[in-house]
Symmetry: C2
Subunit: 139 residues, 2 copies
DNA sequence: CAAGGATCGGTAATGATTTTCATTATTGGC
DNA sequence: GCCAATAATGAAAATCATTACCGATCCTTG
């Protein structure tokens, strides 16, 4: 498991605000929106501006320490990435629960498509959403 | 090949505005944003409001006659879907050129992940982007 | 301790999308 | 063809997430 310190070293100066943002992201465990994370930080007493939350999350993504998805409303949701590998998730639309899924098949497929397409710098986004067992039961 | 008429019948009343929006989407051939489509319509003399463009595109997506992706800025891009099958595309980040790709592998993978996950109503989004041969050459 | 640069945060700006609501157009029944 | 019921339209205003500004603040290094 990685420590917040590892992430902080990657994104510039170590400040109280960034420390709490990274900590909150790790504590949350799953995908969260910037706004929600900011609310959580404020609730627990941290004095951090929304702007700083956005900047810190963007820096983490840039450094490869966080994954991003878009929810249906277009909002970006962030999740701390403990391991350096590119990873895909299955995300519950109701409660936000996320679980990593086996990604090898898609990775291979994407690489092959890139190869035969003639396109350069091919990137891919894969998002799986559904209703987790608990949410399915309670609906 | 499908006719605009087929699409119009799926989304409610047949109006001059919807006809021109669907026509413009088909003519465009690839992925377009609502704003760009609206501009194109205005340029060619059609009197259509921007929100009618949005509503028509949303209705097409709802009816399964259009695909949607998000570009890097979060804007939604729409493409007319001539055939009823779910389809994935490889999209050029520079010029917007889009080409359908073989999707069977991902479809199968997504179905299997859904099966073993315990999640219900699993949906997936797969987006491939890159630089097409022409744009790669001119950069 | 001072200077320089990174960082912060409140606020205003941006940009896409949606809502509101009064007006207009389409459709099914006569 | 005519008419009322109702869906559709559009201009402007409202949302919502995200970003840009910019003056104040905090580290860090010398």
């Amino acid at each position: 498991m990685s420590e917040p310190a590892d992430d902080l070293d990657l994104i510039g100066r170590r400040t109280a605000q960034r420390t709490s943002v990274v900590g909150a992201l790790i504590d949350h465990g799953g995908f969260v929106g910037a706004r929600a994370l900011h609310d959580a930080l404020r609730t627990q007493g941290a004095r951090v501006g929304l702007n700083t939350v956005y900047r810190t999350l963007a820096a983490l993504v840039e450094a490869g320490r966080a994954d991003v998805v878009r929810d249906r409303g277009g909002e970006r949701l962030f999740r701390h990435r403990a391991f350096p590998e590119h990873q895909h998730y299955l995300l519950c639309r109701a409660c936000g629960l996320s679980t990593p899924v086996d990604s090898e098949t898609v990775e291979t497929w994407a690489a092959r498509v890139a190869d035969i397409s003639g396109f350069a710098e091919v990137e891919h986004t894969v998002e799986l959403t559904g209703l987790c067992p608990r949410c399915r039961a309670s609906s």
